[in-house]
Symmetry: C2
Subunit: 434 residues, 2 copies
């Protein structure tokens, strides 16, 4: 069943190989560049799969078509028929000698030009996504999501979806977006976790990849108001099995991205080796020692901030799990660590190169009384968590889960400057357009 | 790499077969049912993969464990070790003779009981999803989404994501949800279409499966305020290639669901044959003739309502494409039909059995002036559509696309009464909890 759909063309550009030398082909795409040289017109034609040089000669296509070729502007859309020729001077050793040209849409002067600045590029993201690098970033993102889906689908996870409209905060009220829901208040989901926890009682192991929303005002290179979130929950799981699942699925996904998006990584000049070897697992206590040693001001009990995470992640070549945070640093649903009840049974995964947290997860409280106590301690209203509490009344099981930020992970792999680069249309506090 | 994760257990229930007779196994799950018979205690144990009978005898597990077994309530969570035995009296001819029992969580009296009523079930959806039928509906949904992803991934489509926060309406302002976006107004996306249209200039063929939002007050069996939307756009596509893609991908997905969720269909007593043969393609004019003949009041120029769609879809055993609607019945972005400019080049797909519309799509306007004219005709503000209009300025190409409702399609396949049955946590005008 695997067959590319093929509209308007006989071949995609990446299908043009030496073997086709001498053959007639018909290509459809856009003009990336045009050059005039010795009475000939050359264009670099792009489609979704690559670029190829096309040469127009008047003795082949006639005077009229030649005029049209000369008028071609950057980003004009064309259908070109011609012969495949081996030519060492052409960028990839191959060239199309045009025999016919159909100009489908002449482009006005394309506004994306060298040096226009980041704001302009994001204001014109609907055009900027055609760029070679932007396309490469987005392809890497796309392959990452697909590879995660493959891993979870083939490891006994059921793919599920959680609602976007919710009545209750998962991660605390401060970062909730409010929606006018037929005159009542609703919120946008910050995480599918609670819903996935409900679903493990039916499906044992579940995962979802869908958007989460955080009304965080901070404009950083690692925050978006809307991000794609891989989340999974596993019945009967403890912290170690959770970390194994994160590690194995991430290694698989990263490997597949490196394989399938090798061209894109090379367009981005990103030298990236899939992590090999077991991810280090250190405790929070060890982590803050590293951070302090590197001059980060942090007190025991605080969550690791961006600066501490950066310092810690630079200490390792591999992603590193930081486990057993103080309960004061984490949300109420984390299971208390029996050996030291000031701490919880959790793990964040920090990516190397200063990227910091890409995964947050841990074992969830499975005991009814422990959950009620923690809700009280945090001054939360048990009534708001009624259905979540119910899960501990009817056949509770030990379980664990996690959330992984797709954009943060794609940023790490691709070497992007910001999470904004690896999402088609980023959303930040100051941007909802285009 | 394909290996189920296996926590707390040696086997999942669906792995217990005749071949294991005499072997020791360890199972983890929940008690669906308990029976006492001749001094023995039987339970039906369920996990995510199936059910199996377990028998407890005092001479095997001892007095203490026997007491615990007798106390087991519906939905209690347990880990059971024992020997696999062939037993013709057991529901699937196999039984576990328990040698050890660990009660992980005794369940309070489970509130889901026969006859509790639909409202109660949806109020307790977090528990109701454990039910055999609910699980079957959700599994069908899950397999449907996976199969669609397989088809699009293997046919040259790039998987992309569009933003949820938008500044502009795609389907008209009446059904927009408004969000407080840092003191400004934003809306929730009704469709990813415009963003997908932008992305075809980079990727040729793109698809997404993500939530769309419609603030429709109507409480019907085919509406949700939040639904999952498969959308695709294809550069260089016309109406026929669009319909071919819809038809081929849907046939593939339906076939795979019937294969992979055969047990679930049989739990639901749903006799469903994947559609074979080409889907009929009729025009709007023909469609309203059918509707009128069947007594539906409809005038040329109106959109087909639920009643008309029902009447038409009951006329065919297969899904039927209805093409070339009057432009008055469709949104401004549909391409005008040159042979009859009162109409547009579009197609909806109506599913059989009265289900009605599951797909809406068509060829999009690719000519700049045609688009500007249509925007003016509909009294829309061109400024709001500036970036969308831009796509026709810079290398426009003919293109087409569509949106398919995942819940409506899953409802059709599964025979569910309502779209609410085939989504884990449905959202309607009166429901955002749990």
């Amino acid at each position: 069943m695997s067959e590319r759909i093929r509209l308007a063309r006989s071949h995609y550009i990446d299908e043009i190989t030496d073997k086709l030398a001498g053959s007639e082909v018909k290509l459809a795409g856009w003009v990336r560049k045009k050059m005039e040289l010795g009475g000939l017109t050359f264009i670099i034609l792009r489609d979704s799969t690559g670029v190829i040089q096309v040469v127009f000669r008047e003795d082949r296509i006639g005077k009229e078509k030649m005029k049209e070729a000369r008028k071609l502007s950057m980003e004009s859309s064309v259908i070109v028929s011609g012969k495949v020729k081996l030519d060492k001077r052409a960028p990839n050793g191959l060239e199309i000698e045009a025999e016919d040209l159909k100009v489908v849409g002449y482009a006005e002067e394309f506004p994306i030009k060298p040096g226009v600045g980041k704001k302009f590029l994001f204001d014109n993201r609907h055009l900027h996504i055609r760029g070679r690098k932007t396309q490469a970033f987005l392809r890497i993102r796309s392959e990452l999501i697909k590879a995660f889906e493959e891993w979870y689908n083939s490891h006994g996870f059921t793919r599920v979806e959680a609602p976007t409209f919710v009545g209750t905060a998962v991660e605390g009220g401060a970062t909730l977006f409010e929606v006018d829901y037929f005159g009542k208040k609703a919120y946008l989901t910050q995480s599918s976790q609670f819903y996935l926890e409900a679903m493990i009682f039916s499906f044992d192991n579940v995962y979802t990849i869908q958007p989460s929303f955080r009304a965080e005002k901070s404009r950083t290179k690692r925050h978006l108001t809307e991000f794609w979130h891989l989340e999974a929950e596993m019945a009967w799981a403890d912290l170690n099995s959770m970390m194994d699942i994160v590690e194995n699925s991430l290694k698989y996904a990263v490997e597949k991205v490196c394989e399938r998006a090798a061209d894109q990584l090379s367009i981005l000049k990103r030298k990236f080796e899939p992590p090999s070897g077991r991810f280090p697992r250190i405790t929070y206590d060890e982590a803050i020692e590293i951070a302090k040693r590197k001059g980060v001001r942090i007190e025991w009990g605080e969550d690791l901030g961006a600066e501490a995470e950066r310092a810690i992640s630079l200490e390792f070549d591999l992603p590193v799990f930081v486990t057993h945070y103080p309960k004061t640093a984490k949300a109420f649903y984390h299971k208390i660590y029996q050996e030291d009840p000031r701490k919880v049974v959790c793990a964040d995964l920090l990516a190397p190169e200063g990227i910091g947290e890409i995964v947050g997860g841990g074992q969830r409280i499975d005991d009814l009384n422990e959950l009620l106590t923690r809700i009280k301690e945090e001054n939360l209203d048990p009534e708001s968590y009624k259905w979540y509490i119910d899960l501990r009344r009817y056949g509770t099981v030990p379980h664990a889960g996690f959330g992984l930020g797709i954009e943060r992970t794609a940023r790490w792999i691709s070497g992007a400057d910001s999470v904004r680069d690896v999402v088609p249309f980023p959303r930040t506090p100051t941007r909802i357009n285009p």
